[in-house]
Symmetry: C2
Subunit: 341 residues, 2 copies
DNA sequence: TTGAAAGCGCTAACAC
DNA sequence: GTGTTAGCGCTTTCAA
């Protein structure tokens, strides 16, 4: 693969490999005469020398590789995070390895192990579950790790997320202002912090409005299908509601679909709010009211936090960054015609 | 990072490191007694031994890493391809590094160089341009490389794509059957094979129907914005058409937007076909008629082709796989009320 | 300022 | 069958 080695450059430049190494390393260059540096650089350039990162890594035990662990790249939420992280990392000379765990904890564990064996310098994890053995292992070993999007119970790693408390507040405020009182919460899968945080926020928000926050169901995963199934079950049970606060856009889409199957239209009969504002939410039919989360920025910030750590500036373990969110009203939420009850 | 080394395992098991290495390597295990194998394996397990992939790679000059080069992960086209490739690769024990070139040839070149320095075993490239210096370099070095989605002029690498000739035929057939004669082609950026192939196909298809295939414009990139800009310019020039065959879904979306700005609605006034059938195309407002391309399958096949190569079964350089496509009529194409001209 | 030498953790050719 | 030895390409003490 890599043809030209450092030895070749050194021989050609008439210096010892050690010297050539120093000349080419910005950090060690000061101990080398300007003439030598220039000569070595010139030869390296002419020969097309490309340092072998593996060998360097073996010696320095730094690989300049960061692993990003995500649950499902086809969920439009994650490409934004990936993009933000990739940008920051590659600018800093790091390479990003992507692992898609397919939402499976076992896959996640083995992938993380494989990455560790590869000697990645650190992890950005977007798959955190509330109880997460993989993260516990990582914490035990002390591998630099930053959580993004989801956090875990242990709280041993810095976390870059969004202000879900506020996001859900905005949804509930908006719906109650439109006259809704019977609001159903369509939560995310248990064992994710996003489900917990948003569902807690929902309950508190409802109580602050003097309403019961107990009308609540949960999707088995953050997918349209799970959202549809949960709402179908709710309808079958005869739950009564005029609005739904979904914990995620895909769940909201599934909810709308389940309602449509029963001839219940949105927003005429039921108002729905989503969460995240993934691409296309604004142009679906009907367009979806949702909460915009700065996904890209989250990816960037996670990468920056990790880079600082790798650079010898470990973050306070308690670091919890909650980026501001924005309510995106798109007319999918309507005033209640006949307030229930 | 990796704490337990092979030496530790060997010492603990009372054998030489070389023996331990053989015992743990399925390929070399036959030259070792069953008892030794078992003992070494047991010790390795107990100590939690994880082989250092870097060191192994340095020695064997195989990294079991494959790089996937894509232009923009936030374009919904690519996560599908990534997913397919990732699945196949990780099942085969390979790790996937993702590089997002942000549609920039220079970035692409430097990223590929960085990956080469990392000693990746091969590349899957989804960013090919028709004239592509990076690919020429890769070909010169002989690095195993498979093209997916886009191919290049040189044709030195196997290519996994879709049957664009047929896909465009289906669009033109459909529109002409509805009475359209003045059909505009909204092509992709020059210097991509997809733009060339689809635009060639369009011209031929139109001629086969006895129509002129010369009504054609092109987007500067495969984005909504570029599509909108191109169509705005076309309208300003006073181009007359009743239908648009777009080279890509995002271009089609941009086209619809530009038309809407002028009060031209779709499909009432103008029919549009997209290409790729990215997620959500079916649920936009209006839903989009488009051509479904088996993106995920393309990723899988590209990965399989590369793996076979890395496994010593190099593909015929002329390998060009064109997977079948499917026309997705969604009512966004309407019969012409008053055929133009 | 530069050269010499050792070694990161592993594997593979060769010897016993 | 197993031990010995050499070395992948690089960096980094230690001497000179």
């Amino acid at each position: 693969m890599t043809r030209v080695r450092l030895v070749d450059v050194a021989r050609e430049a008439g210096v010892h490999p050690g010297t050539a190494s120093r000349a080419l390393n910005p950090a060690a260059r000061d101990g080398v005469s300007r003439r030598t540096v220039r000569r070595v650089e010139l030869v390296a350039q002419r020969l097309g020398y490309v340092p072998n990162t593996l060998a360097r890594g073996l010696r320095t035990s730094r690989s300049f590789v960061v692993a990003l662990v995500i649950p499902d790249i086809t969920n439009p939420l994650f490409p934004q995070i990936v993009r933000g992280a990739e940008q920051v990392l590659s600018e800093a000379g790091y390479t990003l390895v992507l692992t898609d765990t397919n939402n499976d904890p076992a896959t996640e564990g083995s992938q993380v192990a494989a990455m560790s064996a590869r000697g990645v310098d650190g992890f950005i994890v977007a798959t955190a579950r509330w109880e997460d053995a993989t993260l516990d292992d990582l914490a035990a070993v002390g591998t630099p790790t930053v959580l993004v999007n989801r956090r875990n119970a242990a709280g041993l790693f810095p976390y870059i997320g969004a202000d879900d408390r506020r996001g859900v507040d905005l949804c509930v405020d908006h719906l109650t202002a439109l006259g809704h009182c019977a609001i159903l919460h369509l939560g995310g899968p248990a064992n994710t912090s996003t489900a917990r945080d948003r569902s807690d926020a929902f309950r508190q928000s409802m109580r602050a409005h003097g309403l019961s926050g107990d009308l609540s169901i949960a999707g088995a995963s953050y997918t349209e299908q799970a959202g549809a199934e949960a709402v179908r079950a709710a309808l079958q049970q005869g739950m009564d509601f005029t609005a739904i606060v979904a914990a995620n856009d895909l769940l909201a889409l599934g909810a709308a679909q389940a309602l449509a199957e029963r001839g219940i239209t949105c927003p005429a009969d039921v108002s729905i709010t989503g969460y995240n504002d993934i691409d296309f939410m604004s142009r679906l039919s009907p367009p979806f009211t949702t909460v915009r989360v700065p996904l890209r920025r989250m990816g960037e910030l996670a990468a920056q936090t990790l880079l600082a750590w790798l650079d010898g500036r470990p973050p306070d373990a308690a670091t919890q960054v909650l980026l501001p969110v924005k309510f995106m009203e798109r007319g999918t939420t309507a005033r209640v015609a006949v307030p229930v009850r």
